[in-house]
């Protein structure tokens, strides 16, 4: 230490006072995006690969099985062919026995899209430093997100519980509902993919809600206000929109196609 001259010491001391701004010194912002936002984008890209792997696997397995070729009216569940989604997902809470194809999943989709809108409104309020509006829209987003997860819980419990009639299996027994090893709707992998894809998405929605609750508490405490920007709301917003985006694809590939 004795070799350092007093002059050098003085220079390094003052250099510590302020952030370094050189291009190769951490002062450069690649793509003019902050570190946090850029890393969120890269994380979402990697997450998109995971979901794409799930959905392409669904595509592969679905094409590997026989497609149902008869008329939709004459459709019955069978392990011989892949079920058509509007015959599997046709129940609605409170309307037992009524055939409402895809109605509930369409409602869920709209709830999640609407939560995306309230999220973007929260981000917009953050740009204006409107703390009350940020709180309001974050609460709406948390509410819609929670409603979505609750809808999914109902959908799962109905899927697992099965229909009143069940399906006559090859061994002569009647099976109701679904688990990972056997299901009444079609090939085993149909239920497996349902559980894995919607389950993985539901887990994402759940972690999104946790992040939003953190965001709401931090906004209420004035953390972002003191920090001088609401970038955390933007970053969590990116994640939330991504979850909505994934659902748009799950809706198409699992429920429509």
């Amino acid at each position: 230490m004795s070799t350092i001259s007093p002059t050098t010491q003085a220079v390094s001391d003052s250099a510590l006072d302020k952030p370094r701004t050189g291009t190769w010194d951490g002062g450069n912002e690649p793509f003019n995006a902050s570190y946090g936002k850029l890393m969120m984008w890269f994380f979402l890209l990697s997450d998109a690969f995971t979901f794409a792997a799930f959905l392409t696997t669904y595509g592969l397995i679905r094409h590997r099985y026989m497609a149902y070729s008869g008329s939709p009216e004459a459709f019955t569940f069978s392990t011989k062919y892949w079920p058509i989604p509007e015959k599997v997902f046709n129940a609605f809470p409170g309307l037992h026995g009524v055939d409402l194809p895809l109605a509930f999943v369409a409602l869920m989709t709209m709830i999640l899209i609407f939560s995306s809108v309230t999220m973007v409104l929260a981000v917009e309020a953050g740009h204006r430093f409107d703390k009350k509006d940020v709180q309001k829209w974050l609460l709406w987003t948390i509410l819609f997100g929670t409603v979505f997860v609750s809808c999914q819980a109902w959908e799962w419990s109905h899927f697992i519980g099965g229909t009143d009639e069940g399906t006559l299996m090859n061994d002569g027994t009647r099976f109701y509902g679904a688990n990972l090893a056997v299901n009444q709707y079609g090939p085993v992998l149909f239920a497996d993919l349902f559980f894995f894809i919607t389950g993985f998405h539901g887990t994402h929605v759940f972690s999104g809600i946790c992040l939003l609750i953190y965001c709401f508490i931090a906004t209420t405490n004035g953390t972002f206000e003191k920090r001088g920007h609401y970038e955390m709301v933007e970053k969590i917003g990116l994640y939330w929109h991504f979850v909505d985006l994934v659902w748009v694809f799950v809706f198409t590939f699992f429920y429509l196609v």
């Binding site: 984008w41 590997r64 995306s116 409107d130 985006l245």
Partner: protein
Amino acid sequence: MAHHTSQPLHAGEIQKPNTGWIWKTFWIITGITALEFVIAFLMPSSTARNSIFIILTIFKAFFIVANFMHLKDETKGLIWTIMIPMSLLIWLLVALITEGNAIHNAIF
């Protein structure tokens, strides 16, 4: 923007919200979803119908990513960094569905 006060920032000078574009995007996405729903019941299942679904889904994805996630306001470099790997996934989808058909043909 390095204010370190406990007072609310910009008190009394909060700008009016500018949310027209958000609602416009929302109605576009809602419209496309409604259209998909109608097609699901009016058209018999076919490759053409599936193609329509996938194209409409990509439209929806475009509006969500460009407007809600503000990707269109980012630099070109960031846009390409996200879009090029994503476009490779289209290849993955086509490749694995072809593979699925091959397995199908081998079994049945």
